[in-house]
Symmetry: C2
Subunit: 418 residues, 2 copies
C-alpha cells in the first residue's frame, strides 16, 4: 500500500519551525511496510490545499495530514479534506463533550481566558469518520475512508500528533497491512561513501528482496537491508545472508549492526568491554569529541576527563607538551599530537587518550599546513599512533569531520593496540 | 515571484533524517521577499522526480532543489531536471579540475582510497547553466534558466548547501527581485518564546510594512523585521523605529542585531571587549559549551581552557571540589556548581569560569532531582552566581537546552558582574 504525507501550515511552509512530524511519520510508515513516495508542505490556503489533497488521494492509498485542525479560521484541513472526499460535516456529541471538558479545565487555570465560539468547530466530524480523541489538546484526529482511499488527519503540535499516532493510528494501520516488513542496519566507518557504494554496487543492482539502501553520514555510511515476508522469521532468513556478505566485504570497519547504535556508543562499548578508561585532549575541536562521547548514557563508566587545551599554555601546563616541541614543530604537528595524547593519559590517569590539534580556519593556515590540516594522536596503554588528516570546508565543516574521523580513529587504535 | 522547494532523497523521504534544509531555505525565501506556496519531498525515483519537477516548474517561477547531486547511480536530480527543462549535459572542464583537486586531496589522507569513475558524473553540466563551486564537498551546484523558469540545484548535506546558498544563490536571487527587500534580525536570549510572542503581539497584529516574524530557536528567539521599498535607505527608515521599540521592550536580553552574530560570538566579543579570559567546567554537557565557544574564529583570544570533569574524581582533582560537598549535596547541586566554577578559574587561571552539572538522563533521576535538573555556576572575578534549571525532553534535548541556556547565563553574569 502507498502512503503519502501532507503537512499543513504556514509556520512550516515559511521555515519558522522545522518539520519534525514528517520525519517521524515517514519512519513509522517504513516500519509498517507502507511505501512512501511523496511528502508535501502546503500553507493554510483553501485552493492550494484542495489541489494538494486531491493529487495525493489520486496517487496514494493512505494520505496522512498533520496540522490545520485547530479552532481558528485559518484551520481548514478537515473542511477541505471532507469536501474533496465528498463527506458532509456534522457535530459529534462525544467530541463536543470532550471539548467542553478540556476547555473548562483550561479556564480553571486561567479565568481570563475566553472560550471563543470557533472552538466548537473542532467537534464537527465528517460522516462515517472515526474520531481519535486528543488527550493532549483540543482538536480530535480523524480517519476518513471512501472508495478505497483513506485520509488520516492529525493535529500539528508534535506532542499531540505522536501520542495520537501511537495510540490509535499505528495499530489501525498495522491491521491493514497483510505483509510483514523487517529491516536491519549495518553501519560502517573509516571508508568513504563512494567507495562503499562501489563495493556494493553488484548487490544493489541484483537486489529485489531484501533491498539495500545506503545512507551517507559525516564520516559514516549506513546500509539498511529491508525484507518483506509473511513472518519475522522469514524476513530474518532473507536478511541474514546479505548481512554475512557485508561483514565479509567490510570486516572490522562495521561498527554497528543495529539502528540505534551510534559510533560514539560503539566506541564506548568497546572501551567498556576491554576495561579501558578514556580521556580526550582537544584543541581545534574544543570539546566536541568529548561531547559526542557524553551523548552515550553511562559514558561516565569510561570517560574520566576531557581536556580542552586551546591555548599553548594549557597544552604545556595540563598535558606537559614540551616547550621545545611547540617552538620547533608548532602546536599543529605530529609531535604535539603525540605528546598531547601521552600527556592526557598521565594527567587524567586513563588507559587511552585521544588528542586533536589542527587548523579549523578561517585564519591560521600556511602553505605547509593549510586550513583543514589536523593531527590526531591516540595513546592506548603507552602505544601512541599519530595520523595526519586534511579536511575541506569551512570552520564548522572541518570540525564536524574532525570529530567523526576522530571517533573512527580512536576505535581503530583500540582495536589495533589492546 | 513565486518560489518552491523540492527535497530529493530517500533519507528524508523515509524519515532517516529531519528535513532542516527546507526550513533554512524557506526562511531565506521569506527574507528575499519570494512567495513560497509548496515544499515537496520526493525519493530517488526518476519517474516521480520528473513529475514533481514538472509540476513545480509549471506553477512556480523559481524551483530550488536540494539533494541527489552526488556520485552514486541513485543521484539523478541534475539529469532529470535537465531533461524536464530540455537542456543537454556536457562535461565542464572547470568543475572537472576542481573535482580532481578535491579527490587528490582526499587520496592524500588515505592512499588506500580509490577514486571511482562514477565520481566524474559530478562534473557534467547542463548547457548554459551557471556552475556553483562546492568548497565543502564534491558536487557543484547549478543555476539553470529557460523560458522564464529557474531551477537551482544544491547539494543535500546542510553544511554544503548553506555555504553554497550564502555565497552564490542569495546574491543571485537578490538581484532578480525588482523591489528592494531589506531585513534586520534582532536576537533575544534569557526569555521564552511564548513570553516574547505575547510582548510583541500588538506589533505583529498592526504590521504591514515592515513585518515582524518570530523564529524560535533553542534558548533563543529571533525576530526578523522585513521592509519593502524602493531603496535600502527607505527600507532602513521603515525598520529603525521598530528596532528601537524592540530595544525598549527587551533591553539587554537582545544579544545581537545582525543575522550572522551567534550567541557564542556575542559572548566571545563581550569577553574580549572587557578583557576577560574564560574557562569552562562541564559535567553533563561533556564539552559541548566549550565546543560552541570554539565555533567562533579567534576564540583562542578568550577561551584558555575547558575542563570536562565527568567523574567525581576529576571534579575533585582538577577543580578542587570538596569531598564533603560531593558527599553532602551530590555532584548535581548548587554547592558543587559553585565550587566547580571557582575551581575552574583557579586551575585554568582565568577571570571567568562557567560550570555545568546536571542529570541529562535517561537514568540518574530522583524525586528531588528529576532528569532535566541542571545547576550552572558562573564565577566572574571572584563573584559566583549559581542557578538551577529544569529542562524537559530526552538526553540530547536536555543537553542542547543546557548549552544554549548556559551561554545566555554566562552572558548575563558577565554583564552583571564585570
Amino acid at each position: 500500500m502507498i502512503a503519502e504525507l501532507i503537512s499543513v501550515g504556514t509556520e512550516i511552509l515559511l521555515g519558522n519551525i522545522v518539520n519534525t512530524n514528517s520525519a517521524y511519520l515517514a519512519e513509522k510508515c517504513a516500519q509498517l511496510g507502507l511505501s512512501l513516495y511523496y511528502q508535501t508542505v502546503v500553507g493554510d490556503n483553501e485552493e492550494r490545499m484542495r489541489e494538494t489533497i486531491r493529487t495525493a488521494l489520486g496517487r496514494s492509498d493512505i494520505v496522512i495530514l498533520t496540522g490545520g485542525l485547530g479552532p481558528t479560521e485559518d484551520d481548514l484541513t478537515k473542511e477541505v479534506t471532507a469536501e474533496v472526499m465528498g463527506l458532509a460535516l456534522k457535530e459529534d456529541p462525544h467530541s463536543r463533550r470532550l471539548l467542553d471538558d478540556y476547555l473548562a479545565q483550561y479556564q480553571k487555570n486561567d479565568a481570563q481566558r475566553r472560550i471563543t465560539s470557533n472552538n466548537y468547530k473542532q467537534a464537527m466530524v465528517p460522516e462515517g469518520a472515526a474520531v481519535l480523541d486528543n488527550h493532549n489538546g483540543t482538536a480530535p484526529g480523524l480517519i476518513m475512508e471512501k472508495n478505497g482511499k483513506t485520509a488520516i488527519l492529525l493535529p500539528g503540535p508534535p506532542g499531540e500528533m505522536k501520542a495520537m499516532f501511537e495510540e490509535y493510528v499505528f495499530p489501525w494501520l498495522r491491521k491493514k497491512q497483510p505483509e510483514m516488513i523487517f529491516s536491519q542496519m549495518i553501519k560502517i566507518c573509516s571508508i568513504g561513501e563512494s567507495q562503499v557504494a562501489e563495493e556494493i554496487q553488484d548487490l544493489i543492482e541484483s537486489q529485489t528482496n531484501p533491498t539495500i539502501a545506503p545512507y551517507a553520514k559525516t564520516g559514516e555510511v549506513h546500509l539498511r537491508i529491508t525484507a518483506k515476508g509473511n513472518s519475522r522469521k522469514e524476513c530474518e532468513e532473507l536478511i541474514q545472508p546479505v548481512v554475512r556478505e557485508l561483514e565479509h566485504r567490510f570486516g572490522k570497519n562495521i561498527f554497528a549492526e543495529s539502528e540505534n547504535m551510534s559510533l560514539e556508543e560503539a566506541v564506548t562499548v568497546l572501551l567498556w568491554e576491554r576495561n579501558l578508561t578514556l580521556s580526550t585532549a582537544e584543541s581545534c575541536t574544543g570539546g566536541a569529541v568529548a561531547a559526542r562521547i557524553v551523548n552515550v548514557p553511562g559514558a561516565s563508566d569510561v570517560l574520566m576527563q576531557g581536556m580542552v587545551t586551546y591555548s599553548n599554555q594549557a597544552k604545556r601546563k595540563t598535558l606537559g607538551v614540551k616547550e621545545e616541541t611547540l617552538n620547533l614543530y608548532g602546536a599543529v604537528s605530529e609531535e604535539c599530537a603525540g605528546e598531547m595524547a601521552e600527556g592526557g593519559c598521565s594527567f587524567a590517569g586513563t588507559d587511552v587518550c585521544l588528542s586533536v590539534t589542527g587548523i579549523a580556519g578561517p585564519g591560521g593556515g600556511t602553505p605547509e599546513k593549510p586550513v583543514g590540516t589536523v593531527f590526531m594522536g591516540c595513546c592506548v596503554k603507552g602505544k601512541t599512533t599519530v595520523r595526519e588528516y586534511h579536511f575541506i570546508g569551512n570552520r564548522a565543516r572541518i570540525r564536524e569531520q574532525t570529530v567523526a574521523h576522530g571517533l573512527a580513529f580512536l576505535r581503530a587504535c583500540i582495536l589495533e593496540n589492546s
